[in-house]
Each structure stands twice: as C-alpha cells, then as structure tokens.
Assembly symmetry: C2
Homo-oligomer: 220 residues x 2
C-alpha cells in the first residue's frame, strides 16, 4: 500500500464527469492497483476512486492516469507531494460478520416449525420471474406460504412480498398462497400495510433461533 499526501487536482470521466479543484489530499494506491482519494473528513466514502481491476500510469509531467476496462478514467494532477511512503501488508484474513439477513434465513429455514406446528420447508430462495422468494413452505394444513425475511421490516419488504404473492397465486399448483413477513423488528407502518393485505407478521428473535440451532447441533 502506497500513501501519498499531495496537493492535487483530480478529474474523473466515466459514469459521470466530476472535478476536484486543487487541495491537499490523501491518495491511496493499493496492492490490487485500486486508487482512492480522501479528504480529511468522512470515514466511509472517498472523494474519488477507481475500483480494481485498473491500471495506474505515472506520467513524466506529474499527471497520474488511472484507467479501467470500461474506459473510465481518473486523472490526478500532482502539484506538490508532501509525503510518500509504501508498506507491505499482505492479504487480509477478512471480516467475520454475524447477524445479517442471510443468516436469519438459514436459521429460520432450518427451524421452520418456529412458525407453527406441522410447517414444512419447500425451499429457500424459491425462484420466480421477478426474483427469488426467501422461503416457500407449507403450513399445518398444507397451504403454501411465502415468507419474506428482513432484518428491519419496512414498507418495501411488504411491497416485495405482495408482488411475490400476486405472482405465486397465478400458479394453480401453488395457489392459494399465504404470506408471512418475518423480521427482527417490524416498523408500525409496515405492520399496518401487511395486516391490511392479510399478510402475517412474525418478529424473529435472532438469539433464540441461534439457541435452538445450537441445541440441535448439541444433539449430534
């Protein structure tokens, strides 16, 4: 990783055109060839960047040009270099996450009877023309149920599930299909909309689901 502090101006021409007037900034050149330009505020988003794969060419005239395959260009005009150092970091072992939607889906699919006695899984990520349904299952009566899972349940999620239900109910092999909106937290507006559309709401307890899963594993 190369760290350069320099007064520079920057031009980006790609998905949009953008310009940064001359000012002192941090320029990061990483081992994968990517380049990013940071001001002295904001943790997350660089002022300007070029994602890998891309190539950096340092011209004789203190103009750096970064290009990628799509023809996007980042042109950095160096006016005064204040710091320039390089460091070997090696490959990062990466982030270990916990508590995201994919995990909730796994946990609930593995313990679908949490939703009611006699419920059985048809499949996770059930494919439709407008995208996959998180979980398709059957309730105790054998009625098909589409489950939409969110970490935070908002109106968008109810709309999404409504579209799936409309589509699934056109399939005579599946119809009638009921809907369940499952989330760790359900916003009041989302609950009202779901209820109005006869969609059931279930608040998921992540720790409890994981506990159940742990108990299951302990049996083996």
């Amino acid at each position: 990783m190369r760290l350069v502090i320099a007064r520079c101006s920057v031009d980006y021409a790609g998905r949009l055109t953008a310009h940064l007037p001359s000012a002192p900034r941090l320029i990061l050149v990483k081992a994968d060839g990517s380049v990013s330009i940071h001001a002295d505020d904001r943790a997350y988003k660089p002022l300007n960047w070029m994602s890998p794969p891309c190539t950096l060419k340092e011209g004789d005239d203190d103009v750096w040009t970064v290009v990628n395959k799509a023809g996007e260009k980042l042109i950095i005009t160096m006016e005064e270099v204040l710091h320039d150092s390089s460091h070997e970091l090696g490959v990062d072992p990466g982030l270990i996450k916990d508590g995201v939607e994919a995990h909730l889906q796994e946990l609930l699919a593995d313990r679908i009877e949490t939703l009611g006695d006699g419920w059985t899984l048809i499949r996770r990520e059930y494919p439709t023309a407008i995208g996959p349904v998180d979980i398709l299952c059957r309730d105790g009566d054998g009625t098909t149920v589409a489950v939409e899972i969110k970490r935070r349940g908002e109106i968008d999620g109810v709309e999404q599930l409504t579209r799936y239900l409309e589509l699934l109910n056109r399939d005579p092999h599946l119809a009638p299909v009921k809907g369940i909106f499952a989330a760790q937290e359900i916003k009041p507006q989302a609950r009202v909309l779901a209820t109005d559309r006869s969609i059931g709401c279930v608040v998921l307890d992540y720790d409890a689901l994981r506990g159940i899963e742990d108990d299951k594993l302990r049996l083996f």
Copy 2:
C-alpha cells in the same frame, strides 16, 4: 489526518457484530474524528469504520476505542505499529459533478418532444400527496402523462410510478393519466413489470439529450 500502519485486530459491536483477526492494516484517523480501517485492496469500502460524530480514546494498553452517540463501538487492539504520521490538510473544496438524475430531468423537460410529436410539458416536480412526479406532460392527443425518471430503471421505480398513476387517476381533471418510465438503462424485470401495467418504457440517451440541448443553446 493521521496515518497509522499497524498489525492490529478489530472488533465492531453496533448494528451487527464483526471481528477482524490480527493482520497489518492502515488505520485512518481524520480531522472530524472519524476512523476507518483499510486492507491492501478495494478502493471504496473500508474493512471497518466509524462515521462522525464519534470519539477516539487511546488506552494505555494499546487498545483504541471509538464510540458514537448511538452506542456503537469499534475496538482496535494495536499489536505492532509500523508507521505513524500526521498531516494538516484543511477543508476540501469538494467535488463538482455532472450527469446525475436531476440533470436528466432538466434535459428531458427541456426537450419533452423527444417522447413524441406534439408532446407538451405541464410541469417538472408536479406535487402530489405522496411526493412529486418527476415530469407531468401531455401527449399528442392531449392525454396526461406522468414520467418517472431514473438513471437506472429498476422495479422500485415502476412501483413508485404505479403509486403516482393510481393517485393521479383519481383526479377527474387529469384522468386518464398514462405512465412513462424513462431511464438511461432499464432492467429486464422492471420492463416486464412496467409492460404488465401498461406503462411505457423509454431509454434515455444522455449524450444525445445534451447534444440537443447544446444545439438549442447555439441558436441564441
């Protein structure tokens, strides 16, 4: 801006919990108090971060703790500092952009006849109870048309336009109101949904619209 290269492990506890095992990384501490941790790849997204406003406390035991108002925590355990330098950058003048959705809307409103002969603009940002319609206009037959503009046309945009159409069609002064979904790029699923709802799809050519605009300006 402070640049620290260090072997460290990191724990985040907040909206989720995440852990970074020990490895050499870049730690950026910016003038606004924000902190970000970068591996030697990827231009855009840090491995971990804390957005401002937040406060960093460097403990005696080489443990740095960053907290924000919401109680989220970032804990950096420093194991070996390989580089540590600070630099005064000042406030950045900021990015000047061109070619975003607002601009597309201006361009299309100024050249509404792109959509068809005899089309006329009623107004941009036509206000409704559920938000402004990007463009309201009339087609060659005098029928009212609501236009939703996106840079990239996806399902959400079609849903949004559908809600507007439903509302506008309740107004006897306007009804019947047709819908046009206009974007630089329209995803297949969005097109399917739009077509199913009798909403027209138009792919906008930004450069062509700008070219027309340039031609217009040249007349004056």
